[in-house]
């Protein structure tokens, strides 16, 4: 397989995942903005949406003030913002198009029709009331893409590189959401949160579609900040947790290692991170600093991405 | 005359080079009055370099190297025996049909001023004296001046400006000859530089096809036909086609180049 093909598969999946994550973050932002008398005011909610999506700096370069309309435009339609939904789908589709022959027809058609339909959506038509339906549609399209991929692709290098892109993007996304709000997850003297705490905790869970699964998993169903952190970092049952994403990242890398009969430093890097997560416990993490832990993780994740690119000759 | 030549080109870079491909026209080809005693190219990757003859009879090397730090040095060095033949080149194998050397390229397209040169010198049936007159005229009208022109200066521009280096002199000569329907080609090589010679040791001149005589060299920069002080390396349609080193690279950031050419009379 060409190094460029591998790179395109990786980025195709990464950008599809990014589009889905962005839709989810926007959903949370939108929800909060609807709440009357949100204590901090909804403007700050949109600020935190920008931060969680790592788009705050790019936004500030373009806009002086934060308004719902501007943030929505920037995160959905602005092609100057490489992480906007539109830019993400377009990049994913261009990568898919470049490796069209490596994809099954179902995968290609799912990605191609998503772009064709999205390209028809006029930014001016995106009024607040239409936002939820649109965001649902994006999530469904990405899920249909992922379904096509899982259901039709041969389990060879094509599949493994797609998987890598998918899970490394998800790992980055979950870590960032946690890091932006890490301070509200720190243990406190009392385990009873204020209304505001409750609201913020729920929001974190919603950002990763985990507000229901959390209750299912922790049957006493009360929000406890360290349990939320634990759920999103250390629980293999949770499909957006860091440990889960690294389990699958390692599976994909092992697949490549076996297929090609060769292991590289990316294999060691991924294994180290996974072991750290697998044997980790929240107490230790809190003691040595949640923020530091997340920052380390984000850095290690970026280094792994770089290492994969080098080891497999991405252009 | 036995000549010793050392032609070193050194490149230095701000960053390591990821990949580089270099094409060299740095190998003299023997003919009746020029015999190579020894010749070698030293460069990274030279031992596995591609090595072939092009359609004009030139020996070409193409080398590649990966992941190295500068400076990179390419050295062509050797000893060549030359005999004076008043510029006449015999016994050189070149498969290209002569008509190819009538092609007007960007740098060898004549303008009105160059056409006037053609009319003045190359109207008569006997063209050999005319070509000498042309060479002399260009030598007088175009002063040798380093830095007045650049690699892509055309014959028309240099002639209008009245200044240039050997490349420009050769291009003007070629443009004028081709305008008269006389095949002419661009030649690179080396020259023993004595006092007052208008050129550097790395040199270029022109060759024109003279009926019954064959290819004859003309060096308008020095107003002479090549003698046994000249070593002929490569010939093409114009300078761009036979650039001694042409390369492409990835990485390296900024590049600095230094060229040093030594040509000396060697002991027989």
């Amino acid at each position: 397989m060409l190094g460029r093909t591998a790179s395109s598969l990786y980025w195709m999946s990464r950008y599809m995942e990014r589009a889905e994550n962005m839709a989810r973050l926007l959903e949370v932002g939108y929800r909060i903005s609807l709440m009357p008398g949100a204590v901090e005011g909804h403007r700050d909610e949109w600020r935190s949406t920008l931060q969680s999506s790592a788009c705050d700096l790019a936004y500030a370069e373009k806009h002086d003030d934060i308004t719902a309309a501007k943030v929505i435009q920037f995160l959905i339609f602005d092609e100057d913002n490489p992480s906007s939904i539109r830019a993400s789908i377009k990049t994913a589709r261009n990568n898919g198009r470049a490796v069209r022959t490596a994809l099954t027809r179902d995968v290609w058609e799912s990605i191609n029709s998503t772009w064709n339909e999205l390209a028809q959506v006029k930014p001016s038509s995106m009024t607040a009331d239409r936002l939820p339906v649109f965001l649902d549609w994006i999530k469904q399209r990405v899920m249909s893409f992922r379904g096509a991929l899982l259901g039709t692709m041969l389990r060879n290098d094509t599949y493994y590189f797609s998987q890598l892109g998918n899970f490394m993007e998800r790992a980055d996304n979950t870590a960032r959401i946690l890091d932006v709000k890490y301070f509200i997850l720190l243990p406190k003297a009392t385990d009873v949160g204020s209304d505001l705490d409750m609201q913020q905790w729920a929001q974190i869970l919603r950002s990763v579609s985990a507000h229901r699964s959390y209750r299912w998993f922790y049957r006493d169903s009360k929000y406890r900040p360290w349990m939320i952190a634990e759920f999103l970092i250390l629980k293999e049952e949770m499909p957006r947790s860091l440990v889960f994403t690294y389990y699958w990242t390692n599976m994909a890398l092992d697949g490549l290692g076996q297929l090609y009969g060769k292991r590289y430093d990316c294999h060691d890097l991924a294994q180290q991170t996974y072991q750290r997560l697998k044997s980790g416990n929240m107490e230790q993490i809190f003691q040595s600093g949640l923020h530091e832990f997340l920052q380390d993780f984000i850095t290690a994740n970026a280094a792994l991405s770089q290492s994969i690119a080098t080891n497999y000759n991405f252009p | 005359m036995r000549l010793f030549i050392r032609h070193e080109t050194q490149y230095d870079y701000d960053m390591p080079i990821a990949y580089s491909a270099q094409r060299l026209y740095l190998w003299p080809v023997d003919f009746a009055t020029q015999k190579t005693v020894s010749w070698a190219i030293e460069a990274p990757g030279i031992e596995k370099a591609l090595n072939y003859f092009d359609g004009f009879g030139n020996r070409v090397h193409m080398l590649t190297f990966q992941a190295i730090r500068g400076p990179v040095s390419i050295v062509a060095e050797g000893i060549v025996d030359c005999t004076d033949a008043a510029g006449v080149v015999r016994g050189l194998h070149s498969p290209a049909p002569d008509a190819i050397f009538l092609r007007l390229t960007k740098s060898t397209t004549p303008n009105a001023a160059i056409r006037a040169l053609t009319d003045k010198h190359l109207s008569a049936k006997d063209i050999l004296p005319g070509l000498h007159g042309l060479m002399n005229d260009i030598h007088i009208k175009v002063a040798y001046e380093l830095g007045a022109t650049h690699a892509h200066t055309t014959a028309a521009e240099a002639f209008a400006d009245g200044r240039g280096v050997c490349q420009d002199h050769a291009h003007i000569f070629i443009a004028a000859a081709r305008a008269a329907g006389i095949p002419a080609r661009y030649v690179t090589g080396y020259l023993v530089t004595g006092m007052g010679a208008s050129s550097t040791a790395a040199h270029a001149w022109a060759e024109a096809l003279v009926p019954d005589l064959g290819w004859v060299g003309f060096d308008p920069a020095n107003n002479t036909c090549p003698t046994d002080n000249y070593v002929r390396v490569a010939a093409g349609i114009d300078a761009a086609g036979v650039t001694p080193i042409r390369g492409s690279r990835r990485g390296g950031a900024m590049e600095r180049m230094r060229v040093e050419v030594r040509v000396e009379i060697a002991q027989q």
Binding site: W108 | R23, M62, I100
Partner: protein, 471 residues
Amino acid sequence: MSTVFNEMQGKGGAVREPYALIEQWLKTLSPKDVERALKEAEAIFRRQGITFAVYGDNQASERLIPFDIIPRIFAAAEWRRLSAGIEQRVRALNAFIHDLYHRQEILRAGRVPQDIIIQNEAFVPEMVGVMPSRGIYAHIIGIDIVRVAENEFYVLEDNCRTPSGVSYMLEDREAMMYLFPELFSQQRIAPVENYPAMLRQTLESVAPAACKGEPTVVILTPGIHNSAFFEHAFLADEMGVELCEGNDLFVSDGYLYMRTTQEPKRVDVVYRRIDDAYLDPLTFRPDSAIGVPGIFDLYRAGRVTLVNAPGTGIADDKSIYTYIPDVIEFYTGEKPLLKNVPTWRCGEKQDLAYVLDHLPELVVKEVHGSGGYGMLVGPTSSRREIEEFRHRLKARPKNYIAQPTLALSAVPTFTKSGVAPRHVDLRPFVLSGDRVRVTPGGLTRVALKKNSLVVNSSQGGGTKDTWVLED
């Protein structure tokens, strides 16, 4: 225009033999059937992503080429004659290119003027002396042919560089077989779907002599923004070869390799779909970012085969076109089986005078233009357009050739107002490698606008499936 040859109705109004079945079938189709079929066809093409990009048209930078469901049909005997002429022409073109880059016998013999070759931009001096594998230069040629009467065919132009459109030929057939399978069981239609296999065999057969074992073939594309990218991907897929961009290939120690996720892999044959000028920054345009540095040196040294060879454009240049009948005679010793369209060379005084006097009747083309741009179609142009063109023509006569306006044959086509005849041309594709192979049929392009003679897809043309009936 009154004597347009209708390929279905013929001259006297009686249905011509090859169309007998289709004519009956058309009668059975209700407007609803047609609508449904056209919709389905469009959906197939859209899903597959069979699009082409239109330069300078940002709005709809990816469009579908309209497809018409009524096939264009040749009888077996008809095709045998055509195909013999095509093959003769292709052999002559390859011999011509070889000669131009070696001894230039045809110039020495004075059959083609020296200047129009030597000073031609499409002539690549660096190709002089290069002997490609099997001596073949143009491995893939598309010849544009028009018909004006039962037995009168003309070659409009030769495409010896990187002719495109073969993917439409294949997809049109695919769509027809999907939509109307019954038509294919009722008569024997020569298959075209083995084209990719033939192409691969052709490409493998011209691997460098130095290549041992099974040659590795790749397609080199300028990338996803190229107007024909779909075709590049399609052919790579159908042939089972890698689709590479310039960055995927590199020269190392005298051989060509592709960058893979594992060890670099040797490449022997490159079917390149990028223009000569961009192929190699070491020899051609130094600013090319889509080429491969050093690939042309490998080619010259016989380490890799480039398909088509650089410099084949000299054989399809419009200024050379008028000499092709001489070219055929010179190299084959035979009379040309296929005729050229009579052509005036505006660079010649007498011809120019005639052309200027007859502009409203003529088609005037730019010598170096393509795609139907920069041309004048006299009969359908306004007086002002003609006068404007007259100025351009007078200013640079050498840049133009002129031809009579041919009454291109017409084939019934579905239009908004029902079935009506529309003008067509034909581009058969010819492969030259271990042997010469002519696709049975080719790409039929149809001018969808009433009375229009411009079939180019960039100017609103569509395509039809092309059938060659077997005996």
